[in-house]
């Protein structure tokens, strides 16, 4: 699989650490953040292809973070993760340009498939920009 850059954002440190490690094992360039602010700071210094973003986080929530991410890096694709599907945030997220809205818990292989498709989309859009 092509190595692409992934940013994992979730307020549960354990979740972030586990998933980052497992994605690295699969050959991805994965970085974790435990909040929206931290994620945006990381984005200042590094370009990511795909972000996986928890909807419900204290402080800056997922929707707010998504809005900021899309503003700064419109081409980065974002997959929203949610523990308990909220219809409202689902439609909001998609309208703000999220690639998908996925229910937790999600098997790693499924998430990986989603991330690959999101990455594919980013490549298509980048190709169009040139």
């Amino acid at each position: 699989m092509e190595k692409f850059r992934v940013l994992i954002v979730d307020d549960e440190i354990d979740f972030v650490e586990t998933i980052v490690k497992r994605l690295k094992d699969r050959g991805l360039d994965a970085v974790g953040a435990t909040g929206g602010k931290e994620a945006l700071e990381l984005m200042e210094h590094k370009d990511f292809d795909v972000a996986v973003l928890d909807v419900k986080m204290p402080g800056m929530d997922g929707i707010e973070t998504l809005r900021e991410m899309k503003k700064r890096k419109p081409l980065m694709e974002v997959i929203m993760l949610t523990g308990h599907g909220s219809v409202e945030s689902g439609i909001q997220g998609l309208q703000l340009g999220a690639y998908n809205y996925v229910m937790k818990p999600v098997p790693l292989n499924d998430l990986l498939k989603q991330m690959t498709q999101a990455y594919e989309r980013k490549l298509i859009e980048e190709g169009r920009e040139r």
């Binding site: 219809v87 809205y101 989309r121 298509i124």
Partner: protein, 312 residues
């Protein structure tokens, strides 16, 4: 009218001409010559009739094309219009918001705070701020309708997409005793379309169905292959239905039967905008008081191999 007459009489003209010229030149000396001439006249008639049919078909095609063009034109006018309206409305709203901020600041001055009425004014001011926010939200929704969406085409499994979106609403549906039935065709071909845009449409339709039911009922989601070129998705609900006189209007921007302040009447308009940009169409059938079914037709858009970025 004249055109209709033309196409009715046109097929006879060549045959009449053949017969007339025969009579005029006096070739009817032998009976067999008359028979030959009649046959020729008959062939001329059939040929001419065929021509008329072809012309009719071409006219029909022309008419549909024209209608499509009209819709496309209307769409782009709506796009431009809403972008324009958004601008023209958000600018004055910007001024109103700033002025209220300023008044709020002025109210903080010590001499004014002694006044009893100032609390009343502050309350009104807050109300103004809230209403400005409301307008802002409507305008932004209007914009997502107008937003120039250039779809990004990817290979997708429609059944998987539909199931994912259904999963999101499942829990809220259970709480309201709404059952979700799935009727997905097992051998549905993969579709080349824009996944996030389609997710938005499907989720929108599901939310709409739930609104129509409120409590206790069923939503049935089905997918099926229609032809080698197209598939369809149907979202059916056993909700309140749409009155006959409203069926034509449900996709019109700002048309809403929901209570004031609830819903902007843009959801279905956005859905139609998306589906049409993806080369499909969306329609609705409803029985008032009983059920409503939205049907999306989507082209499969097979892409020649090699054009796909990453075959999965």
């Amino acid at each position: 009218m004249a055109k209709r007459l033309n196409s009715r009489f046109f097929p006879y003209i060549p045959s009449v001409l053949v017969l007339a010229s025969a009579v005029l030149t006096g070739v009817f000396s032998e009976p067999w010559q008359a028979v030959v001439l009649l046959v020729i006249a008959g062939i001329a008639y059939i040929n001419a009739k065929g021509t008329v049919k072809t012309i009719d078909k071409a006219e029909e095609a022309c008419r549909t094309l024209n209608e499509q063009l009209c819709r496309a034109e209307k769409l782009s006018t709506v796009d431009e219009l809403s972008a324009g309206i958004a601008h023209e409305i958000n600018n004055p709203l910007g001024i109103i918001a700033q002025e209220t901020q300023w008044i709020k600041h002025v109210f903080k001055s010590k001499s004014l705070q002694k006044l009893k009425e100032i609390e009343d004014c502050a309350d009104s001011l807050n109300q103004i701020c809230m209403q400005v926010d409301r307008c802002k939200e409507i305008v932004h929704k209007l914009l997502s309708l107008a937003r120039e969406l250039e779809p990004v085409i990817q290979c997708l499994d429609l059944n998987e997409l539909v199931s994912q979106m259904t999963n999101i609403v499942k829990k809220e549906m259970e709480e309201r005793n709404i059952k979700i039935l799935m009727n997905l065709e097992t051998n549905l071909p993969l579709v080349y379309s824009d996944p996030p845009l389609l997710r938005q449409v499907v989720l929108n339709l599901l939310i709409n169905a739930a609104h129509a039911i409120e409590r206790d009922g069923e939503i049935c989601v089905s997918t099926m292959a229609v032809s080698p070129q197209s598939v369809k998705v149907i979202v059916m609900d056993t909700g309140c239905g749409i009155p006959k006189e409203h069926v034509d209007k449900v996709f019109t921007p700002f048309f809403s039967t929901k209570k004031q302040g609830k819903g902007t009447g843009l959801g279905l308009a956005i859905c139609r905008g998306i589906i049409e940009r993806l080369g499909g169409n969306i329609s609705v059938v409803s029985e008032f008081g009983k059920s409503t079914a939205f049907t999306i037709h989507l082209p499969i858009n097979r892409i020649p191999q090699g054009d796909i970025l990453h075959g999965s």
